[in-house]
């Protein structure tokens, strides 16, 4: 994509730098927790920079001018990181870790694990403001990053729910939604049982 056409203007190299900064921070806590508990807390990580098309759509939906400023200083999820963990406590350990990192400010946390959304969605969402210390030219000295932390079960549930959300005219939609909610609550129950067993094993 030609820079002149991107809604992010010339900020893409800086955004890449910020994304990598967050990823290298996650490596730090990942190594700490691996040493502490003997296994890697992170199952996998997905990253994305919101596509130009999605960002234009989002600006329009929110009634914002389709500008660099809307995309990077009003909307806060241009840069996204999803960390999928093995155990519930790993999610909270990584979330806590971000509150004490130099150059990173935790702007907002939404704990949809302790307070699940009505449909059963569970995840821990954070908006970080990350200081840019790279060499490439940039319009801002810091960038927002949305970090979503969740367990494997929560991630599995979210991906099925996502599939269904975009499937039109589902027969018995109400029943399916109630069943999905039940699945979410059962998965959460299992996640907590697994965490409890892990704690019992470690305390032996």
């Amino acid at each position: 994509m030609n820079e002149a056409q991107s809604i992010y203007g010339g900020n893409l190299p800086a955004m890449d730098w910020v994304l990598n900064r967050v990823l290298s921070d996650i490596e730090v806590i990942r190594n700490d927790l691996t040493l502490q508990f003997g296994n890697d807390p992170v199952e996998h990580i997905r990253t994305r920079i919101k596509s130009d098309e999605s960002m234009h759509d989002k600006c329009r939906r929110r009634g914002l001018d389709e500008t660099v400023d809307s995309a990077l200083s009003v909307i806060r999820d241009a840069i996204g990181v999803r960390v999928v963990c093995q155990f519930l406590n790993d999610v909270f350990a990584i979330a806590d870790f971000f509150s004490s990192r130099p150059g990173i400010e935790v702007v907002e946390c939404k704990d949809y694990i302790r307070r699940a959304k009505p449909n059963g969605y569970r995840s821990y969402h954070m908006i970080l403001r990350v200081r840019y210390e790279g060499g490439a030219p940039s319009d801002y000295d810091s960038y927002f990053v949305e970090v979503q932390l969740r367990t494997i079960s929560q991630d599995t549930w979210a991906s099925l729910e996502h599939t269904l959300k975009y499937k039109k005219d589902i027969a018995d939609a109400e029943l399916i939604c109630a069943e999905l909610k039940r699945c979410a609550d059962e998965l959460e129950s299992t996640d907590i049982s697994m965490q409890t067993l892990r704690d019992l094993i470690i305390s032996l």
């Binding site: 307070r115 699940a116 609550d185 959460e188 907590i192």
Partner: protein, 222 residues
């Protein structure tokens, strides 16, 4: 708890109904078999007291219709001493217990208690304590958030909630919840208490399970 009393002797019906109401039961009174069947079609009961010898339709016919309709409500038959064959037929047709007339009120009441006790344990009402509720149909534990419990977790939680504030020993809980399980031992109680503690936390409950491994456990607000 609601009972149907089908008894054609007016004085006996009145005395028995008064006793049951005094004991906290709700009572519908039928004075013959046709009336009894009509009550049973309209409403549901936690227990039925059925006199065998009744005008218009006898108790055995009422019982047969009831069981053929697939209704499993417990039935206590009232019979005369001479009606041995009726008692046998009644039990084989699905009555749960019988009492011969004349009977002592004390014994009658004890049998009603025993008949309705099992039903009460499995009734589908929500249990509540502090900000939590536990649904017996769905095994859902709910406060500010909701979660689904497994069967054993549910039974353990139910036991703790039904005696909230009172300590229950590990041995008691084990026998109550795992009585049918020969593969496990009392250590399982601690594992399940640990599950429930974390699950109570996950729904932001304002109640906790007090107690230590191997000891007694009490559900308390705190």
């Amino acid at each position: 708890m609601k009972l149907l009393l089908a008894e054609d002797t007016f004085d006996l019906s009145r005395a028995v109904a008064a006793l049951l109401r005094h004991d906290g039961y709700e009572v519908d009174q039928a004075y013959d078999g046709v009336e009894a069947s009509a009550f049973l079609e309209k409403g549901s009961y936690d227990g039925i007291i059925l006199d065998i010898m009744m005008p218009r339709k006898d108790g055995l016919a009422v019982l047969r219709d009831l069981r053929e309709a697939g209704i499993t409500t417990p039935v206590l038959m009232l019979t005369a001493k001479a009606e041995i064959n009726d008692r046998v037929t009644g039990l084989e047709m699905g009555a749960d217990d019988y009492l011969t007339k004349p009977f002592a009120m004390k014994e009658f009441l004890a049998r009603i208690h025993s008949m309705t006790r099992r039903r009460a344990e499995y009734s589908n009402k929500d249990l509540r304590f502090g900000n939590i509720s536990l649904n017996a149909d769905s095994f859902e534990l709910r406060a500010e958030n909701s979660i689904r419990l497994s069967v054993k977790e549910f039974e353990l939680m139910q036991s703790l909630m039904m005696s909230a504030g009172k300590p229950q020993s590990t041995q008691y809980l084990f026998e109550r919840v795992w009585h049918d399980d020969t593969e496990t031992n009392e250590n399982v109680v601690w594992v399940y208490i640990s599950y429930l503690r974390n699950k109570l936390r996950s729904v932001n409950a304002n109640v906790v399970i007090d107690g230590e491994r191997g000891g007694s456990f009490t559900l308390i607000e705190g």
